[in-house]
Symmetry: C2
């Protein structure tokens, strides 16, 4: 059992390690760096976690749980397939921007080498999330909202636009997460091309 | 001056390091790993390059030059803005699939920490490439092929779909690079939504 102070320190530990793994990379960041960022001794960290790998596992788990919890909520509440898919896109964009360090580290540092023993655990959660996105695309197709497209590759198109945001999104940038999500929805559903029927307008 | 045998060894050195950086990550892969993969002594590597960083720089430079050379060729030969943009999408998808190790390492391992002194050099080339894509989108907008969209975010949509391929594309997968590129072109220009005017057909 952890008391309240322990939990606070644990939280700060995960935040500091996500920030450092994001800045320096998982391999380059050391436990010493993390201890310094927190202003505690390196040996004290081991009271909370056993290894740097355990920190990476926790970061990846949190990212996947944040995404899954939101997506499962949307899927269970929303009955209209078009709204469901749009809400999933907005949710992913919003969560990525709100948890930029967590998402950046998970998307960039989660490799079989870095993950080691917990690779399968995280990949299982990732597959569950991708499965939800594909199912939403399938439902939208069945409802006649989307044309006859390959669900798998359509999901990769969406995840590509969304996840690539870790490479360029900045909280101080011109566009809000909502504006960006609206753009992805528009491109994905309508395309960026000028529709022939609009030509005369 | 390098003779022919030296050049061959240099080529094998870059290939082996791209493969190892892809598999293990740049920080985790050692010069010893690279020497073993080539069947030479570690000390022999230093005849060709000074450091692991120099190998990463060469990998990133090659990736950017491959992309830029192809894109600049398309831009100079193609006068129709719609064809130009479509060819740029096909070219990027094709080159990424043909040089999967190079692209994966460049897109995943090029961080300020890993790149150090050569970060600015590669980012300059990346910006030149992104500039070409944005200009092609602007031209397509001016020609009335694309609707009034923000070029910067439209370029990120395309680069997201394209670059995310390093996370899922497999040469043994169901889809060829050409089929994938055709899908990106279709989603980007027409969208995945069923057009209202098609409903009666």
């Amino acid at each position: 059992m952890f008391d309240r102070k322990d939990n606070l320190t644990r939280e700060r530990l995960f935040e500091a390690s996500a920030r450092l793994f994001q800045e320096k990379g998982f391999k380059a960041a050391t436990m010493e760096d993390i201890a310094q960022a927190l202003g505690i001794r390196k040996s004290s960290i081991y009271y909370y976690i056993k290894s740097k790998e355990e920190l990476l596992r926790e970061i990846c788990l949190r990212t996947m749980h944040i995404l899954l919890e939101a997506a499962e909520g949307i899927v269970s509440r929303e009955s209209d397939p078009e709204n469901e898919l749009k809400k999933l896109i907005f949710s992913h964009a919003q969560l990525l921007c709100e948890n930029l360090d967590l998402f950046t580290v998970t998307l960039r540092e989660l490799t079989p080498t870095n993950a080691g023993a917990f690779w399968g655990e995280i990949v299982g959660l990732r597959d569950r999330y991708e499965g939800l996105i594909r199912q939403a695309i399938r439902d939208a197709k069945d409802a006649g909202v989307l044309k006859e497209i390959d669900e798998k590759i359509a999901a990769f198109a969406l995840l590509g636009m969304l996840n690539w945001m870790i490479r360029w999104y900045s909280p101080s940038g011109e566009k809000s997460p909502d504006e960006i999500a609206r753009f992805w929805v528009d491109v994905f559903f309508n395309g960026a091309g000028r529709r022939k029927v609009d030509d005369g307008v």
